[in-house]
């Protein structure tokens, strides 16, 4: 029997630092390999740049820890990075590194998505939903929320760097 694929059911699963993070597939521009990343120290907390996406300028690529804070040193097991679609036209895609990446359909996998309990909401928390996957609890962020979170982190990082210099 034919079953239509609902875009809302499609997610990209990232694993890094033991964190399982699901992002709606429609918020992800592409999945890239680390070999294509140009490593360099940046003043904004990115670990490098990626320019092969046809947007004219290089996109910053970030490393996040399991508590979704910036890492300025690249952990050894990061094999891939994804590019998140920009929030607005004219902005650049933003990259996030990960150990593993997989795409999956939550309906086909019979995964039940639950809202993040309201008591766990904070202004700094980009996680909006949770789900049980492979006997673990995984987090769901929209691409926009994750990009906004990274923008906030880069502003803090830049401010801290300027204060130190």
């Amino acid at each position: 029997m034919f079953k239509s694929i609902q875009t809302a059911d499609l997610y990209v699963q990232l694993v890094f630092d033991g964190l399982n993070l699901f992002i709606p597939q429609q918020d992800v521009l592409s999945v890239e390999i680390m070999a294509d990343l140009e490593y360099t120290q940046t003043t904004m907390g990115a670990i490098g740049w990626f320019g092969q996406h046809g947007h004219g300028q290089n996109s910053p690529v970030f490393c996040l820890s399991e508590d979704l804070l910036l890492l300025t040193e690249l952990p050894r097991n990061r094999e891939f990075f994804i590019l998140l679609k920009p929030r607005h036209e004219g902005e650049l895609p933003v990259g996030i590194t990960c150990d593993q990446v997989e795409d999956l359909n939550v309906r086909y996998e019979h995964l039940y998505i639950q809202d993040l309990p309201t008591i766990m909401h904070t202004k700094e928390n980009p996680v909006s939903k949770l789900l049980i996957y492979k006997e673990q609890v995984a987090c769901i962020c929209t691409g926009i929320d994750l990009v906004q979170h990274i923008v906030r982190l880069t502003e803090e990082f830049t401010h801290a760097s300027e204060s130190m210099s």
Binding site: D67, L68, P117, T118, I119, T122, P126, V127, I132, C139
Partner: protein, 157 residues
């Protein structure tokens, strides 16, 4: 006979909850659903310092409240015996019944609360005031009766 019944009506069953570090409170007998002696906890990033973990209970993902960290307004590392209590409460906005979990230092203790033991919440327990319905004396100690709806509802919702 009537006097006896009236006397009984003054007694309410409750659970005495011990959160550790001398922090105790009571709730109605029906407000605790389960106690878990062992539970797999999962950290959720960027969550508030008093509620950084969740657990899976009967297919539901429940927040795990650390009441000590809430009251002390900073993350407190727990020490010693730790059990998880599953609370049932009415959601403030929807009125629906909901479940949430909390760290406890010991198993909850059942007790009877006599209306005649009611007292004002002492000033030194003022930190409980936002979550307190009433207070009573138990073995010479003031114990607040807390409202899980207030406890599990963030202030800005």
């Amino acid at each position: 006979m009537v006097e006896q019944e009236q006397e009984q009506l003054k007694l309410n069953r409750a659970w005495l909850l011990d959160f550790g570090r001398g922090l105790q409170a009571a709730v109605g007998i029906h407000e605790m659903s389960h106690v878990l002696l062992e539970a797999q906890l999962y950290e959720i990033p960027r969550a508030p310092h008093y509620c950084t973990e969740v657990l899976v209970f009967e297919g539901m993902i429940l927040p795990v409240m650390d009441v000590i960290s809430l009251i002390e307004q900073q993350h407190i590392v727990r020490e010693g015996y730790d059990v998880i209590g599953i609370a049932v409460y009415q959601e403030a906005t929807t009125g629906n019944l909901n479940y949430a979990a909390m760290h406890l230092a010991t198993m909850p203790t059942p007790l009877f609360v006599d209306n005649r033991d009611a007292c004002e919440l002492p000033k030194y327990l003022d930190y409980w005031r936002p979550y307190t319905l009433s207070c009573f004396m138990n073995e010479g100690r003031a114990i607040p009766i807390i409202d899980f709806t207030q406890l599990f509802t963030p202030e800005d919702v």
